[in-house]
């Protein structure tokens, strides 16, 4: 039972890292970016290539994935995303679905449709028992790393100059601009950072979630659930939503596998009906 909880938390942590970039674009910039999973997949493939072709060790491949996906995000933001900010939600949805389709077919073309694997270092594989809980070393690693990231982000968002400028730009971009805050550059950096996190999440998730060209479609719904359920005004909202989702999904798959992903979707619908603005939305009617 506790093993399920542990695995679920690890899974939720990865979901959080994957999704919190999306919560930035979607919540802060009010842009519905369904193509977020494509950046995650990109990060995953960068890791695979870096390890197989360049022989980088796993720990070095992770930052590579982060920076590669972040760079891709920066470039794409400049080229194609920016004109879409002012458009309606429908246009944004169509646009990003188009990107998803392209990335799925493109990855298939470049990398083949087979599942990719990475070789974890020895000290990260295997599991040990602590008081009856089966602790996977890799899962423990994920929990520690992603937990640290979550704290760092919460700190950066609320305590640093960058964070306060970002929050100002989000609350009212026009006023922020008037105060001399470089809103466009801030958004571009944030977008790149979010994409980078997606790439990192994709790299970390190869072991747990698998990596094949359908990744952006398969997990799109998970990211969206995390963000919509968690709400977008805080870091902690998506964090708890990701935990809840991770534990529920893992528990569902271990205990009643025949139901598949049914539990997650049902959970999402129920949560969205009861809390249309997210779990921790501040008093909005």
């Amino acid at each position: 039972m506790l093993t399920i909880l542990f695995d679920g938390v690890a899974y939720g942590m990865i979901l959080f890292v994957l999704a919190c970039g999306l919560s930035v674009t979607m919540g802060l910039m009010n842009f519905i970016n369904l193509a977020h999973g494509a950046f995650a997949m990109f990060g995953g493939y960068v890791t695979v290539l870096a390890m197989q072709r360049l022989g980088l060790p796993f720990l070095w491949a992770l930052p590579a994935a982060f920076f590669a996906a972040g760079l891709a995000g920066l470039v794409l933001e400049r080229l194609v995303y920016r004109p879409m900010y002012a458009r309606g939600h429908l246009d944004q949805v169509m646009f990003s679905i188009g990107l998803v389709f392209m990335s799925v077919a493109g990855a298939d073309y470049l990398m083949g449709s087979t599942q990719q694997f990475v070789q974890l270092p020895v000290w990260l594989s295997g599991r040990f028992d602590v008081a009856g809980i089966g602790v996977g070393r890799y899962r423990l690693f994920i929990i520690l790393l992603c937990g640290a990231l979550a704290f760092a982000m919460q700190w950066g968002f609320t305590r640093t100059r960058f964070g306060s400028r970002l929050r100002a730009a989000v609350d009212d971009a026009r006023v922020a601009r008037g105060l001399g805050i470089p809103v466009n550059r801030l958004f571009a950096l944030t977008f790149a950072f979010g994409s980078g996190l997606a790439g990192l999440g994709g790299a970390l998730g190869i072991e747990l979630m698998g990596l094949d060209p359908t990744f952006p479609l398969k997990f799109m719904i998970y990211f969206l659930i995390v963000v919509t359920v968690g709400g977008t005004s805080t870091i902690s909202g998506p964090f708890f939503a990701a935990m809840l989702l991770g534990v529920a999904d893992v528990a569902g798959k271990y205990l009643v596998p025949q139901l598949g992903a049914f539990i997650i979707y049902a959970l999402m619908v129920v949560l969205l009906i009861t809390r249309p603005h997210g779990l921790f939305a501040r008093g909005r009617a």
Partner: protein
């Protein structure tokens, strides 16, 4: 100005929208004419008619009421399974099956309509998507009823109206689908030009103002959502009946996404958009699939991106110009 004259003007403008334009008549004559002109393509034409009906259904909620849905395949698939199961276990009569498919999907629409009344665009997108995904999972796991991943096999259809037997060339199938499409289209056309349809447009343009001027917001949205669901169910039932097979694919996400594309190609909010979009989409799919069958998805994605980024006005301008041209030609030719 007296109240009476305003009422008369409103009535006149409503009737004006109901009058059939020559270009519309041409459109339907053409749709019937291709039956004789392209006898080898009837199976594809049948698919186009079904997709067109499906797109009209989405147009009713998206184009007229402004509800974004990413899960319209839920109703399509539900109607398809309902009609397929009805044919398999109850009766082989196509029209009864169609009614069952429509009724079942409409009921589902009615039951799920509270979900779309809350929250923003984003919540709606997610919830509609969620409903479709849930149904997909259910259809997959209830293999005993739906056939699971193997699909629902062993559907046999009786002749339409007891007279016309389905054939392998799709002759009866196309005419049947076209007839259903036409009847439902005329009905939809009537509905959107009625006061009810106008109130939907008011809700779409400014829901706050619409509710302030006395439009019962929730009930109107529930009604149109149910109607659109029934239409989608009819399209699904047609597919199940004419192909005599239902697979999990009818509930898949890409079906909803493709449908959006169809409507966006054709233009939302004037009913014909869905039909034109369906024709264009199938032609496009055919052309692309003939030279790169495996990576068709890439091109459709690229098309979507370019389309949203800039090409939309171009294409719609073109379509409108052609429609006007045809209208002129038709009006001139009889004299």
């Amino acid at each position: 100005m007296s109240a009476g004259s305003i009422e008369a003007r409103v009535r006149r403008s409503l009737y004006g929208a109901r009058r059939w334009h020559p270009a519309e008549i041409t459109f339907w004559v053409l749709a019937l004419a291709v039956f004789f002109l392209l006898p080898r393509q009837l199976l594809i034409l049948n698919e186009i008619a079904i997709l067109g009906l499906f797109a009209v259904s989405l147009d009713l909620i998206l184009g007229y009421a402004g509800i974004v849905s990413l899960g319209h395949a839920a109703f399509f698939g539900f109607g398809a399974y309902a009609a397929g199961l009805f044919a398999k276990h109850a009766s082989a009569d196509p029209l009864a099956g169609l009614a069952v498919g429509m009724g079942a999907a409409g009921l589902l629409g009615l039951l799920t309509s509270p979900l779309i009344l809350r929250g923003s665009d984003l919540t709606r997108l997610m919830v509609t998507l969620g409903v479709a995904l849930i149904l997909g999972e259910l259809a997959n796991s209830l293999g005993g009823i739906t056939g699971g991943a193997d699909g629902l096999q062993g559907i046999t259809m009786g002749p339409v109206l007891g007279l016309f037997e389905f054939d392998i060339f799709g002759k009866v199938a196309y005419l049947y689908s076209l007839a259903v499409l036409f009847v439902l289209f005329v009905l939809a056309r009537r509905i959107v030009s009625s006061p009810f349809g106008l109130s939907l447009r008011a809700i779409r343009d400014n829901s706050l103002r619409a509710s302030a001027s006395g439009v019962p917001l929730h009930w109107r949205l529930v009604a149109v959502y149910t109607l659109a669901a029934a239409y989608a169910g009819a399209a699904g039932a047609l597919l199940a009946q004419t192909t005599q097979f239902v697979s999990l694919d009818v509930l898949a996400f890409h079906r909803s996404a493709d449908l959006m594309l169809v409507l966006i190609i054709g233009g939302a909010g004037y009913l014909y958009g869905g039909l034109i979009g369906a024709v264009a989409f199938k032609l496009l799919q055919d052309v692309i699939a003939s030279f790169t069958p495996q990576y068709w998805m890439f091109w459709i994605g690229l098309f979507l991106v370019l389309f949203v980024l800039g090409g939309r006005e171009l294409i719609h301008g073109g379509i409108k110009a052609v429609a006007v041209r045809i209208g002129h030609l038709v009006r001139r030719s009889p004299t």
